[in-house]
Each structure stands twice: as C-alpha cells, then as structure tokens.
Amino acid sequence: MLRLVGTFLRLGVMNEMQYRTNFFIAAFQSVLAVGVGIAVLALVYSHTTSLNGWTESQLLIILGIQILLGGIVHATIQPNMERVVTEVQDGKLDFALTKPQDSQLIVSVRQLDIWQAVDVVSGAIVVGVGVSRLHGGTGAGHALAFLALLGLGAVFLYCFWLILATGAFWIVNMWFLSELFEGMYQTGRWPIGVYPGWLRYSMTYLVPVGFAVTVPAEALTHRLQWSTVVVAIGFAVVLAAFARWFWRFGLRRYSGASA
C-alpha cells in the first residue's frame, strides 16, 4: 500500500517538474497571501492590543498554521477531491474503481500539485516568526505536540473534503465546492474562541477548522489542555470512520457512464 502511494507520489512530482515556471506563480501568490494576512493583522492590532486574549504574535502563529495547512490541502487533498467530483459527473470514476486496491486510497493519491506546497514553506516561516516573538518561547514538548496536532489537522481537512466530494454522488452540479471550502477555511484565520456560540460549535464539529488550526496554535502558545488533545484525537477517529462509511455509501449510488 505504501509502495502504491510512493509510486503515485513519484509520478506526480515528475509530472509537475515539466511546469517549473508555475513555481514562480505559486511563490508570488504565496507572498501576496502572507502579505495580506499580515496587513490585516496590522490593521486589527492598530485598533486593539489583544483579540479575545490573543496577542499579535500569537495570531501570527494562527495565520502561519492556516497558510501551511492550506498549502497541504491545495497541493494534495483538493486536486484529488476535485478530480473525484469531475469523474463522477463524467462517469470516468470506473477507471479508479476497477483497480485492485481500496477505492478511497486510490482516489486520494492520484493528483499532486506540488508547487502549491510553497505555502507550506511560507506558512512555516510565519509560524517561526510568530514563535520567535513570543515571551518565554516554546519547549520541545510543546513543539512535538504542535507537529502531531498539525498532522491531525491535515486528517481533519482531508475527511472534510472527502465528505464534501462524496456529495457528488447525489448532487451533480458541484461547481461551488472549492468556493464553499475556501469560505469555510478562511474562518480558521482567527482563534475559534472569537466566534459566537453556535458558530463556534459548527466551526469545530461541522467544519473542523477549529480543531485543524486553533488547536495546534494552542500547543505553541501554552493554552493547550490535555482534555482538548483527547477530544481532538477521539473526534478525528470518529470523523475518519464516518468519512469512510459515507464514501462507501455514496459509491453504491454510482452507476458509471462508460459501462
């Protein structure tokens, strides 16, 4: 199974290496995105010194994590999921389904937009700058917890995208998907605590950006409680199981167009 993922990864990299200028476009976009994020933070903090208890450096960490995870989503998760949606519409998903491997695995590793991963680097730099400006710094334990929670964040976002994409088995016209995801994902720029109650719950459990972005940031800013970690892990397991079940449930509705 790992070999299969490795092969797809290598193919993806080779394919993308043909279009090297795209790197400069992606890098330019990344610089713009970071610039806007910092400008917005500067505007906010020109009117206040703390947002719901978060200082500017701490929010810089959240911004960095949001950009970093966004890079992972745009490089690996989103292109695969968008391909699923198009192939369900065109009836081309048969080619993936007839392979002698798990269908969910196959559809999740076929595409790689490697230049989008520039955001992972720029996001990491922003996180680094934020951490260096913190008073008291960050210990190794917190850094490790941060990395683990970051990985968990990617799992949350993958499950969320898979659930959205599986909707294609019922709704044919899904052109709004990436707009919907981007809109929801923008909420992750700010600590989940600023949102009023009902919105906070939906941003945590319905659209798991709260878990994906705010919780790793808590690890770096000495806010993390062990109970949060337990809930996050538990919820990740539940969400992954649900996403898998939902994918198989949707698959049963698929009849193909080529057969």
Binding site: I25, L43, I171, V194, L199
Partner: protein, 272 residues
C-alpha cells in the same frame, strides 16, 4: 442611436436577464452552498470587529457594534452585485481563440456578459435575503435608512456593477498583449480588497490608504453603496457619490472601448 437600435438592445437585455433568472433558479442547492461560502467572509470580519468593539466599550473609532453589523450584512448585497465576468475568463477566451466567433455577432461582445451577469443578480439576492434576516437576528444591525438613502442605494449598486464590470473587462483585455496576466490580476484584486471598503469601513483605514482610495475606482463599487444605506451621509454627498460613479463609469467605458479598438488589430486566432 436610432429608435429601433435602442429597441433591439432592450429586447436583448430583457431576454438575457429572463433566461438567466430561470437558469439560476434550476440550481438552488448549488446557489445556497455558494452563498454560504461567500457569507463566511463578511461574517468573519464582523465577528472580529465586534469582538474588538466589545473590549473597547462598544465601539472602534466611533463605529459601534450595530453599525458594524449593518455594514457587513449589507456588504453581501453589494458583493453579490459586484460579481462580474472575471478577467481570468477573458484570459481563457483570448488564449483559446474564442473571440473569432464572438466578433461575428451583431452587437459588442461585452453586452453578453453585462446582460447575463445582470440577470443572475435577481435570484442571488432573493436567496441571500433569508440569510440576511438570520444574521440580523444574531448581530442586531443598526439600520435606519431614510427613503432617499434607499433610492440612492438601489441606483448605486447598479453603478457599482457597471463600474466593476468595465474594470474587469479592461483588465482582462490586457491578455491581448501579454499572456502572463495572472500576477497583474492578483495585485489588482489585492488593491481592491484593501482600498474598496471590502475588508473594513474605509474611515478605519490609515490616512494614507484613505487618500489613495479617493483617487481609485474601488471605493465607489463597495464602500459607497454600503455606506449610502447604512451610514448617515447628507443628501449632498449622496448625489456627489452618484456623480463619482458616473465619472468612473465613463472613464472605465472609455478604457474598454479604447483598448478594444487597439486589441482587435492585435488579435489573431488559430483555427476555425
């Protein structure tokens, strides 16, 4: 323009608008989802500024929580009006040689975009209204427009639509000269985000940004229509605002027509 020409333009616009309204209503689920993605942006701004206002005794530089709520709820109405044919679409059309077919048609191609996007506004706004009511119940906007403000708002959102359309057309037409346009478009959108009032009400921006905004078209497509409805603008400044919209419409239309004339001499396409 002769009377029959006016008549045929009118027929063309009326038919396109009607067709678009009927087409869009076919995809209600998709429209809801898209609207949900779009409403996220102003809701985030609203939540952030409301939080700041609360920690500073209820207002930021004199803008209270109710005023913020009104601003960002009306925001989506104006944003909906501001959705126009994207410059990236022009890039695609020009690169693919699509204009060969368009040029054979009896009226200027931009009328097709203007008419079809105008028609889409109706179903989108109808769909947003229940969301606006829901947002109002949560955030309690302070919205008490005078009748003249409502009238100016209704005119100004169409002014915003025309200005932003022309602006996007002119931008897209740069593709006639160079194919590396994505970077130019993005810088433009960025300037718009910061200097239009999309991000936050312009008076809360630094002074230099407000000065820059005064010389650019952006604020007349975002800040002015919103403020016309939610703010306390005098009748005089409302009229001046409409005049500025007219001025920018003329400038942008001039740019579009001028570029179009030059571009046609540049344009070559393969095939067909």
């Amino acid at each position: 323009m002769t009377e029959s020409a006016v008549r045929s333009y009118y027929d063309f616009y009326a038919t396109s608008v009607r067709t678009q309204i009927q087409t869009q209503f076919q995809y209600r689920a998709a429209m809801w989802m898209y609207t949900l993605g779009m409403v996220a942006e102003p809701t985030i701004y609203l939540v952030v500024w409301t939080t700041i206002a609360r920690t500073h005794g209820g207002s930021v530089d004199g803008v209270g929580t109710g005023a913020f709520a009104a601003y960002y709820i009306v925001w989506t109405l104006v944003r909906t009006m501001n959705i126009v044919f994207t410059p990236f679409g022009w890039e695609w059309r020009i690169r693919e040689g699509q204009f060969s077919g368009w040029l054979l048609k009896p009226i200027h191609p931009i009328h097709y975009d203007l008419a079809s996007f105008a028609g889409q506004k109706v179903p989108w706004i109808v769909l947003y209204l229940p969301i606006a009511v829901a947002l109002s119940l949560v955030f309690h906007p302070a919205l008490h427009p005078r009748p003249v403000e409502v009238v100016v708002f209704l005119v100004a959102i169409w002014g915003a639509y025309v200005i932003r359309s022309m602006n996007a057309f002119a931008l897209g037409m740069i593709t006639f000269w160079t194919t590396r346009v994505a970077a130019i478009f993005q810088v433009w959108f960025l300037a718009e985000l910061l200097l239009s009032g999309r991000l936050l009400p312009l008076p809360l921006m630094p002074q230099w940004a407000q000065t820059a905004a005064a010389w650019l078209p952006f604020k007349w497509t975002f800040y002015f229509p919103i403020e016309a409805l939610v703010g306390n603008m005098s009748t005089g400044s409302l009229v001046v605002g409409l005049g500025m919209q007219l001025l920018w419409t003329a400038i942008m239309a001039g740019a579009v027509l001028g570029m179009w004339g030059f571009a046609l001499r540049q344009y070559t396409a393969v095939g067909n």
